[in-house]
Amino acid sequence: MSSNSKRLAEGGRIDRGRPLEFSFDGSKLTGFQGDTLASALLANGVSLVGRSFKYHRPRGIFSAGAEEPNALVTLGTGGRREPNLPATMLELADGMGAESQNRWPSLAFDVQSLNSLFAPFLSAGFYYKTFMGPTRRAWMFYEHFIRKAAGLGKAAIEPDPDRYEVRHAFADVAIVGGGPAGLSAARAAANAGARVALIEQDFEFGGQILSERPGSEAAAWLQAVEAELEGFGDVSLMARTTAVGLYDGNVLGLVERRDDAQAVGQARQAFTILRAGAIVFAGGAIERPLVFSNNDRPGVMLASAVRTYVNRFAVLPGRKAVVATTNDGAWRTAFDLAAAGAQVTLADLRATLAPALQAEASRLGIAVHAGTHIADLRGGRAVMAARLAGAGGETEVDCDLVCVSGGWSPTVHLTSQLGVKPVYREDIDGFVPGPFAAGQFGAGSVVGGFTTAEAIETGHRAGIGAASYCGKTKPVPAALELQSAKLPAAAFRNIPAARGKAFVDIQMDVTAGDIALAHREGYESVEHLKRYTTLGMGTDQGKTSNFPALSAMAALRGATIPETGTTTFRPPYTPVAIGALAGRAIGRHFKPIRRTPMHDWHIANGADMLEVGLWMRPYFYRGAGRDVNEAYVAEMRFVREAAGLMDISTLGKIDVQGPDAATLLDRVYANGFAKLPVGRARYGVMLRDDGIVFDDGTTTRLGEQRFFMTTSTAKAADVTSRLEFLLDTAWRDLRVAVSSVTDEWAAMSVAGPRSRQVLAAAFPALDLSNEALPHMGVIEGEFDGRALRIIRLSYSGERAYEVYVGASAGEAAWGRLVEVGEPFGLRPYGVEALGALRVEKGHVAGPEIDGRTTLDDLGLGRMVGKRSGFVGDVLRRRPALGEPNRQRLVGLKCLEAGKRLSGGAILFKQGQTRQGHGRGRITSVTYSPTLGAYVGLALLAGDVAMGEEVVAVHRMKNEAVRAHVVSPVFLDPEGERLHG
């Protein structure tokens, strides 16, 4: 093949002044600016471009659009490798390197084409009937080979190096499709004053007009409308952009390809979320193929696609063409082929043909056969001859190109995605969108207006309607008419049943025989048909096969097409790179971390950081030990023996104000808050409505009507929302406002026997004596010009203070405490030590408050006493929640020297068989430097008594350790360390 051997000497919309080098399976080829990869391949005489999914039959370029079933290629290497791209949708670029797929070792000699020999046994659903023996796991053996044979292209396993972005956009009128209908709608809507987004998947606007002969009146029309649209400031002309999904609220998902952008470091694709006031669907129609024997041979193409290649790309795909049609539309292909110098035979299934068409055909020397269809094709890797069958018998015609047209299917995909069932229209023998929702309009072929004139007319009306729906009603000049495009309306027919290997879904290798088999076996609903035969499951989503399959099934069932029904189309309309959907929300932008005001200090001072619910928290400080196990024990010692400093800024903090604030708290906490004196804090537990423990924290009464609540880090957002919910929906009479102030305050805990001395040194102006600030007391002051709040609360069991300071002064306050604390032995500690300290003290936390435990389970029931009227009170009395054998919180002390307890171990009674769920489990463990042993908290069935011995079994660590069941409070049960 010589370079551009099939390129016409003149014409087309390509720029012959800008040649582009590209390669296909390593062969260096040349195309032009304005080509698609498909047109450039055709121009270079490349007819074999792929192998089919199942039988590995040779395949050629079939279409000129998104419906392409065959010409799927892989672009790029390494992490940029991208398979399954339709060559028809790839704008040719200099240096483009495309590879064919699903063949080995080469496209021309594909070993798996032997599959064709076994085709009689590879019928639809054959795998359901076999591969079952000889053993129960036999499928695992067969599956390995089936998986290897299936699939199309090969994806990269390296990370994608390119960027994507997500944009948010708004428009009054969004128009899907930039053909004559869409352009006309855009012009009308823009003139009416609407902000318009015109969305076109091609890199040029014009749709079917682009396939008209160069220099035609249509081309002039296109130029005029485009120029007018460019004059509006409020019209976004979005080429290379596909509307892939229609979502609720008139939201469109758009994918814009910027294939040349990656070279300059820009996003290669942009996903736009377009919120539209009104939408005009003007996405045109897709031509249907004809089903006959060997209709998949390279050289068989949709008639309209051939016309596109001839007129738009100046490519003559074949010199001897057979055009087979059921309608008038394909005659234009025959005319244009003949005008371009091809020898053309036309077979029209209809017996009676329009005289005007026949006259033109005769003028161009086209041999016309009425009442004739193609029975079979000869040829392997390229079509060689067509056997025509008609009333007068069969004739064979030599050919290197077969153009087929079985009518047109409007693109009903987007509206169908939203659940609007397409409706069948007899007059066009096709489906159109069901009733449009308010604010949605259709134009052109989508609503069955197949001629250019109809497209312009319906587009104009839809544009006015859509603009008016958005309140934009400026007067609109009359539609720009395009007289020459008024062709006779197309007529449609059902086609005769095919014999032999006649493909309905060319990509998935589904034949007419497969459909008959599905019918025979009772898989006759369209969804069964689809699922049993895999029809429409390919990358083209059955864009060309859907209707032919439906009509075939309807014929087999003896039913009408509406009775047979149609499938639901799913988004996206064309496949979308997952990267485009994520945009920039990848890497560190995926669920961004949260940092406390003291974050930088921790990093600078050797903290090993741990992410907890997106917050970065110090896990341990490397100064305290080489690893976490060494460090946490050392850090516990600082706290127990001197003083420790902990960043607790991640706690949820809620400001609660109003005359009824105390009432609110009294209702949402299980324990009472109404009588909490001003200046005092209290530990509180909240339940869910179903009586299960929800969260715990402390609330401090700062004034009669003002409280400061803290929640666990994990539940901060949920608690705030819950309070707002109760106030907005249930307790509207309560005069309370709640506001999250989590980010406003830095918070740190100073804990340990010397904590008061440290604080006194840090804040000398404050009276921190036990009298002025007793356990559970609060004082307020100022630090660095920011509010300061010190609440005497302890989680560790030591005398401890929570210091809250305005976030911007957090790091300074922390620095001050570290500085003045040093002589007292104050050291920072991390969450591992924090967790260990609370285990020693028997405080419950997340592992125990696991969403299944009650107050009584956690030993907190006594806090509530006989109170009632709080959230969750009634349903916590459900019978099973009070059963004596329920698992409740206990302490465990390891009984075996040299062994340790492990979290997640299952507890068994002595002598109990070690299987099943046991009597409970260990929820939290720590080494206790105070006790010199491993201790743990556990949820253990009520029938295991205090003092009993249990065995903690951790299968995964091969551990079985004896432990004593003890009180969960291992340290200072009287709380002497807290007071004084």
């Binding site: 992490g79 009689p120 046994f121 019928s123 795998y127 359901y128 076999t130 591969f131 079952m132 023996g133 129960r136 695992m140 089936i146 998986r147 299936a150 699939g151 994806a155 990269a156 990370p159 994608d160 390119d162 999904g245 995605q417 939203l418 025979r520 076996e521 009772g522 609903s525 969804e527 069964h528 990358t539 799913r570 988004p571 996206p572 496949p575 997952i578 990267g579 959907l581 994520a582 560190r588 995926f590 669920k591 992410e611 869910r688 009586g691 299960i692 929800f694 969403g851 019978p879 099973a880 929640l881 979290g903 997640g904 299952i906 099943g916 769920h917 079994v953 951790h954 299968r955 660590k957």
Partner: protein, 418 residues
Amino acid sequence: MRRYSALSLLANGLAGHRHWQRAWRAPEPKRSYDVVIVGGGGHGLATAFYLAENHGIRNVAVIEKGYVGGGNVGRNTTVIRSNYLLDGNTQFYEFSMKLWEGLTHALNFNVMFSQRGQIVTAHSADQLDFFGYRANVMRLNGIDAEILSRDDVRRLVPYLDYSDTARFPIHGAIMQRRAGTARHDAVAWGYARAADGHGVDIIQNCEVTGFLREGERIVGIETAKGPIAAGKVGLAVAGHTSVLGHKAGLELPIESHVLQAFVTEPLKPMVDHVVAYGADHFYVSQSDKGGLVFGGNLDGYNSYAQRGNLGVVREVAEAAIALMPCISRVRLLRHWGGVMDMTPDASPIICPTPIDGLYLNGGWCYGGFKATPASGWCFAHTIATGKPHPLNAAYSLDRFRTGRTLDEAGVGPFAWLQ
């Protein structure tokens, strides 16, 4: 019912496939059955099969509004596992796993049950400890489970993000090798064909419009094809349980929510396991056809529309790339939604109901597919004997009243909403 085998395929292939029988008949409904199952999905068909197979009750009809397998059995991501924590759930799902292991042969229909193993990644020491707890429960209940180190995970699934910049670094994983996937449609069709082979009538395109009563007792159903009397009526219409339950007069603790599923273009083999992301809502496997099949979280509001919202599509895409950066360039082919019955504790309901003659199977939340065989087995037992099987004793309707709930995730009633 003629048996399927390699030989039968060969013989039929040579005969041009002209002699295959219907997979199941298309009978007109009789006026009366011993048992009518409403819902021709996986659970309903399995129930009919086991009524006949285990209990000899063959005068059974399955009534389906659309086509069999058109509901969630044909819309899910086909993951099968038995890694449940709570007493009751653990045993039920493991029983189901055992049935899966013999299902192709029990049905003489290749359901392509592929035990390729499920790996759930852990992203902190705490999470890995928690997986240790889960694995302990599984092993102590006779279920296979392994804890994998980061290096183990890397060897098995090299395409995940092990870079220094991984947003949630992988610490390790829990793996169940017996877990895997099956071909969802084949499960529905296999049960339909096998039930039909036992004489069960499968009635498609027949909407149930109401219930026939004698006093308080339900004695049949009203349908688009006329009334059908039944000794017992079983509902297996998860997703739409409230709609039919309401017609029967049941008050139910169920909300319908949409869970989306996604599939990419067919690719050559790449993902050989079921991989679930421990740091967010994302899980993926690769179908035998080559598409990566994946899913995420619920859409988050009551819905009967079998389609999902764009926000969740994007969240799932983000999570997918965070776990598996190479998926960025893979192209999404289709996404769709299934309607789930969500119960307050995210565990199912299989039980007799307060209404005499009416039995309920529903509330499958997002776990229905893997439960299909056990659900059918236990529901058949419950209908046949009037009492729950020990394996579904915990799945009563009154557990919300008594407090004996099975809340695996500990999120509380309808908390996925909040």
